[in-house]
Assembly symmetry: C2
Homo-oligomer: 260 residues x 2
Amino acid sequence: MESPKRQIILQTPNLEGAKKAIKTGIARHRTVVIAGSCTVDYDGRASSKLEEGERLIIFKPDGSALVHRPKDYSPVNWQPSGSIFHTRIGKDGLVIRVFRRKERESMVISLTMIQMVAVLDLVDNGDFTLYATEKEMQEAILFKPDILEPGFRPMTKEMAVDPGFIDIIGYDADDILAVVEIKRVKANKKAVEQLKKYMDVIDLDDSRRVRGILVAPDITDNGSELLNQLGYEYKPLTPQECSEILKQKRGTPLTAFFEP
Amino acid sequence: MESPKRQIILQTPNLEGAKKAIKTGIARHRTVVIAGSCTVDYDGRASSKLEEGERLIIFKPDGSALVHRPKDYSPVNWQPSGSIFHTRIGKDGLVIRVFRRKERESMVISLTMIQMVAVLDLVDNGDFTLYATEKEMQEAILFKPDILEPGFRPMTKEMAVDPGFIDIIGYDADDILAVVEIKRVKANKKAVEQLKKYMDVIDLDDSRRVRGILVAPDITDNGSELLNQLGYEYKPLTPQECSEILKQKRGTPLTAFFEP
């Protein structure tokens, strides 16, 4: 038996030809991409009507569906995975109904003209890894202060001072105050100058010795030079390491930590 | 001068041919759709790494960009409109950098194999209209109670009672208590039975006369029959009318009213 082709691409097919390719593609769990002129009617929790225009329609093997206008990153209409597809030729053209039985939700795409139907066999097993933001690096240090240095005890976070917000203030193992500035990318001279502003404020408020610590995955030569001149310290720490710590903390996927 | 074709579709092009078509498509403000095997590296507020796999990539004329895996309705990586595109052939294959200068954010797509490049001229001027949910119909009545009937004064909304939540309770122009149940689609017998449950609870608590009002765009014959038997009332009101009222209220697009 001949194995089905990995891709079928039809240019300006007639509705009957398009219908056949789309139905076959969905049945074979392929990714189906359609470009054409359509209207879209949605009815569910709300309802919406999209007038005639040329759009890109994507049906995925997991039953998710997207209608994209030629602008904006978000789809104008969509259905999540698990949707059911029904394709027929009606008086309005090629009508594709995408619905979820349980939720009583349906999206009806009526295509009058089709520029392209592409049926693609996309194989994708690649891992997706999301690394921490600066806020998450801060969270990781607060959760496990030993990653900064043994005996470090964070006292406040995001303390508002005149030049901005100090990421972390704490005491080291010898009870010396430390101001911590976090960068998630290679720290430059500017980052050191930022730390200096915070140090100046703290020095005014406190006559005790204060340590300045710059946390970043790397530091530029200029940054390092200024850091040494000012007597501050550099602590290498990567967003990746912080991601790992947060994973331990919560046992949930890292994506859950991101603010919307 | 020959006018450029409305669509260019390349099947399994070599990287040089793909690069030319993509660059031309972006320059001519077309919608570019690529299917192929790629990695994606994102760096910005956070950073992410997507290992090799076959995906669908979409570049829109407004500078938005999407990378879709063959599952889930949401893209795995994306950039909003206003992004800048840079395409080159490097040692990793065809490398497309999508970036925003101001935000220091970049998404780098490295394609090693390409199944399809489609350059599409999609013309879309269709209006998109979103109609209200039941919650918004409720909101419209609370904002403009006269649409229910002149003199109506809402007292509570979503009052928790044993069988569920009563949409609106209020007093009419003659100070008679009214229980309002809202449906955004054609109300059936079941909707009337739901109203009856609420009415039964209210009747227990209150010896005064209580009116039962079912608000919906339409009502079935069975529903109407039961409604009459029980002595309740039907008030026709469509989600569309409610949408219009909410627009007056806020002067913002209706989409803003939807909860995430």
